[in-house]
């Protein structure tokens, strides 16, 4: 049975004159919730709040049934939390095993034997079991990314907060990641932010599209795709009135927005819907 593990209510946050979050509200249950949005949309700020390392200016959060503003409750949340920041850090002189072991202590795993068994388990889960004794400085970027994921999985946390976990992973690693996360999400709540609509389409049971600190869409991936139904066209020629258009591999032009002359409707994807929602920003960024 699904339960509401994350409740975000009217959360606002400003950094100086920049509004990072402008009254965000949503709920997340067991399963995977994907946060989609362009750079600066407020995804990372929201995830940091869910990781209890940042507090909102106003509004409230309730994580795993606790209020993170209460110090004792915050500790209780952290006991059941796994967090992978956008740019995870490492003690590069440590071995992979030693680093995860150190983080395991910070996660209150005090029994040495049990802790070591857990460290080996999570390293195996992310495919780094054979690299455990290697110094982190000797690992590739993708391996480090998996190592960062491994530390979030310590202790089988109820809530996983992952900020762009698939960035830097090759296709095979990305598939392994999807496999792993989809297994975990059967019993846990996973919040992940990504630029990859493909990840959302294949993994998430819910998706939230954000831009400029507000939520533009909340629903299932198929509901997101439905937004674009009737607004995605295939044509032989490019039409300047389209919100976005690009030439596909078969030589046709894919248009999002108004119908160009001679075009025919095609089935939308969630990427089409996402681009439709934040298209003006994407266009602006492309122009810039």
């Amino acid at each position: 049975m699904s339960e509401t593990n994350v409740q975000v209510t009217s959360v606002r946050k400003r950094f100086g004159s920049v509004q990072a979050l402008g009254g965000v509200s949503f709920e997340a249950e067991t399963g995977i919730t994907g946060l989609l949005g362009p750079n600066g949309a407020g995804k990372t700020t929201l995830l940091r709040m869910m990781a209890t390392v940042m507090s909102p200016d106003s509004g409230s959060l309730r994580l795993l049934g606790h209020d993170p503003t209460d110090p004792l409750a915050r500790t209780a949340i952290r006991r059941s939390l796994g967090y992978m920041p956008q740019e995870p850090g490492f003690h590069r002189s440590f071995s992979a095993f030693a680093f995860i072991d150190y983080v395991a202590i910070l996660k209150e795993m005090t029994d040495r034997r049990a802790r070591h068994a857990e460290v080996i388990r999570v390293l195996d889960l992310v495919g780094l079991g054979d690299q455990a004794r290697k110094r982190i400085r000797a690992l590739s970027g993708g391996m480090r990314r998996r190592l960062a994921l491994a530390q979030t999985l310590l202790g089988d946390p109820e809530l996983l907060v992952l900020d762009e976990p698939t960035a830097g992973l090759d296709p095979e690693q990305r598939l392994r990641f999807r496999e792993l996360i989809s297994d975990i999400a059967v019993r846990q709540t996973v919040i992940l932010s990504t630029h990859q609509t493909e990840d959302v389409a294949t993994l998430c049971n819910r998706v939230i599209v954000m831009d400029e600190g507000i939520i533009l869409f909340e629903g299932t991936p198929s509901e997101l795709a439905e937004i674009a139904r009737g607004r995605v066209w295939a044509a032989h020629e490019r039409d300047a009135r389209a919100t976005l258009s690009w030439r596909t591999g078969d030589g046709m032009h894919r248009h999002i927005g108004v119908a160009p002359p001679g075009a025919h409707l095609i089935d939308p994807t969630i990427e089409d819907a996402y681009l439709l929602l934040v298209g003006h920003r994407v266009v602006a960024e492309n122009v810039a």
Binding site: T52, G65, A76, I105, T110, V161
Partner: protein
């Protein structure tokens, strides 16, 4: 009392540890209270072990151990362990400095590696991490204890005397702990790696300023970079000093914890530690009383009241209690001289009484002690003890590299006593003596007796050469140095030796004599002892008796590097 105070600080730390534990204040707490309390203690322990291993293997700490160990063992030979134990803390300063930097870098490791956010989302917060970093200092402290203990054992094996005071020895390891805690506090207040290096330099300056202080603030210096003069009578109150350091350590530890967790218990613990440090500092300040100065003055002026004596035949050896082990080392050269002297000549009592050297009194730092002495000490210039007819060994340990010199001085004194030459200076050397034009004037200004041309001087020198096993066993060049002092006159360079100027010619005759079989010379000297020790008997007459040739220049040539004192 120290144990009680240390226990108080420990209890305060435990209270602080427990403070972080939830006590079921929230209804929605998912974990039972007791489990959380258990978790916190064991987490700190696990983290402390992990950090302790890292710190113990840290290259900086290892380098500090090597530096301190080298420094300690370089000065470990010939130590008066009951005094030089104060120097252990000084020698551990490199290790303390390295520990400060290493612990600072350890606390900042997460920040340096961009892990603050990841660690921030973990249930173990900065308070527990700070406590773990503090406990991890056990490794460097243990190293410091091992270095101090190894120094004690090695120094003892190398001929040092006495026993170090455990409390004084602990000062070094506690300083290492304090340094580590400074590094942790600094990281919490100013999270910049370079700050620790500047802090080490600043502490060095502070130490220098406090220890250079000639007044009451001097004992507040964490360690003694230079020993007091005279160190025997003016040590700091070591018990209060260690309480002072423990208080500082506690204040640093609770200060670092207070950076992230404030509350009445933390403030109470911090206040307790600070009060302890301030009280102990005040106690050290107050310990320097006129009564203490008077006692120190009495220790100097009336050594008989503080010494133990041992009798060997008619010879009485008296040493301050702490130096009693030296009596056995004094006996060899004295017995050697007396064995070569006819029984009639040694049938009178001889007293060797240890005394603080005159230069230690004239150079005394604490003027209050000088003022309390029952005899006048010039406010400027040298001082000399009055002649009391006894030989006065000083605090030299007479071991290893100092053994030949020490034996020469004692044998010289005993030989001078045997032949009737003076054995004590009666007035101080004039510092301007070196500027006088003639050697005769210089000798007189230095307060020495000119023994030139007297047969008894040759006899005394021969007795010295024959009766110092250290000299006989020493390399030939050392023996030559003793026999060939000076050009025309060999001026006794050491204050504690007999105040006699041995002439070049007389030392040459003594060497000629020493080329003869000792038993033969001894027998002939004994048969005409009264004649050869008569001040009127000349060197020339002695040479005729023994048929000695005039010594060559080479026999009297002074070694270029002769400077035993």
């Amino acid at each position: 009392m120290i144990i009680v105070l240390a226990a108080l600080l420990g209890v305060a730390l435990i209270v602080v540890l427990r403070e972080g534990s939830p006590r079921g204040k929230t209804a929605d707490s998912v974990t039972p209270e007791r489990t959380l309390e258990h978790a916190r203690g064991s987490v700190v322990r696990a983290l402390a072990i992990a950090e302790g291993k890292l710190l113990a293997r840290n290259p900086l700490v290892i380098a500090g151990v090597a530096l301190s160990g080298t420094a300690l063992f370089a000065v470990g030979q010939g130590s008066r362990l009951f005094l030089d134990d104060m120097g252990v803390a000084l020698m551990l300063f490199p290790m303390a400095g390295m520990t400060l930097i290493a612990s600072n870098l350890a606390v900042l490791r997460g920040r340096r590696d961009g892990l603050e956010e990841q660690f921030g989302s973990c249930p173990v917060g900065p308070t527990a991490r700070t406590i773990a970093h503090s406990l991890a200092l056990a490794g460097p402290v243990l190293y410091a204890c091992i270095v101090a203990a190894a120094w004690t054992i090695t120094a003892r094996a190398l001929g040092s005397i006495g026993r170090p005071h455990v409390v004084e020895l602990l000062t070094g390891p506690i300083l290492v702990a304090c340094a580590g805690l400074v590094g942790i506090l600094l990281a919490r207040l100013l999270p910049r790696s370079a700050a620790s290096l500047f802090m080490v330099i600043a502490i060095g300056f502070l130490e220098g300023a406090l220890s250079a202080e000639r007044g009451h603030l001097k004992p507040l210096a964490p360690f003694m970079p230079t020993l007091y003069q005279p160190v025997e009578v003016e040590t700091r109150p070591r018990g209060w000093h260690i309480v002072y350091l423990l208080g500082i350590a506690g204040a640093l530890a609770f200060g670092a914890i207070a950076r992230h967790r404030r509350g009445p218990r933390i403030w109470s613990a911090l206040g307790l530690a600070a009060t302890l440090a301030i009280s102990a500092a005040f106690a050290q300040y107050r310990a320097q009383t006129p009564a203490r100065d008077a006692r120190a003055a009495a220790w100097i002026a009336t050594p008989e009241a503080f010494q133990s004596c041992r009798h060997h035949g008619l010879v009485t050896y008296c040493a301050y209690d702490e130096y009693a082990e030296l009596i056995d080392r004094w006996r060899a050269p004295v017995d050697g001289v007396l064995a070569l002297v006819p029984a009639a000549a040694r049938a009178r009592p001889l007293l060797l009484r240890q005394r603080l050297p005159a230069e230690a009194i004239s150079g005394m730092e604490r003027l209050e002690i000088r003022a309390a002495l029952p005899f006048p000490v010039p406010s400027a210039g040298p001082f000399a003890w009055s002649d009391d007819g006894a030989i006065h060994p000083d605090m030299t340990l007479c071991n290893h590299s100092r053994e030949p010199r020490c034996q020469i001085v004692l044998a010289e004194s005993a030989a001078a006593w045997a032949v009737g030459l003076p054995i004590s200076r009666t007035h101080p050397a004039d510092p301007a003596a070196g500027d006088l034009p003639t050697e005769k004037e210089r000798i007189a200004a230095l307060g020495l007796m000119d023994s030139s041309g007297q047969a008894r001087a040759v006899v005394a020198l021969w007795l010295t050469l024959q009766s110092t096993p250290g000299i006989r066993g020493a390399p030939p060049d050392t023996r030559a140095r003793q026999a060939n002092r000076g050009t025309t006159y060999t001026l006794t360079p050491c204050q504690e030796g007999p105040p006699v100027a041995w002439s070049f010619k007389d030392t040459g005759y003594a060497r000629r004599l020493s080329e003869r079989p000792a038993a033969e010379v001894s027998a002939r000297l004994a048969s005409m002892w009264t004649i050869v020790t008569d001040p009127r008997t000349t060197t020339r007459q002695l040479a005729q008796i023994f048929d000695l040739q005039v010594p060559t220049l080479a026999m009297g040539a002074p070694p270029p590097a002769f400077n035993d004192c």
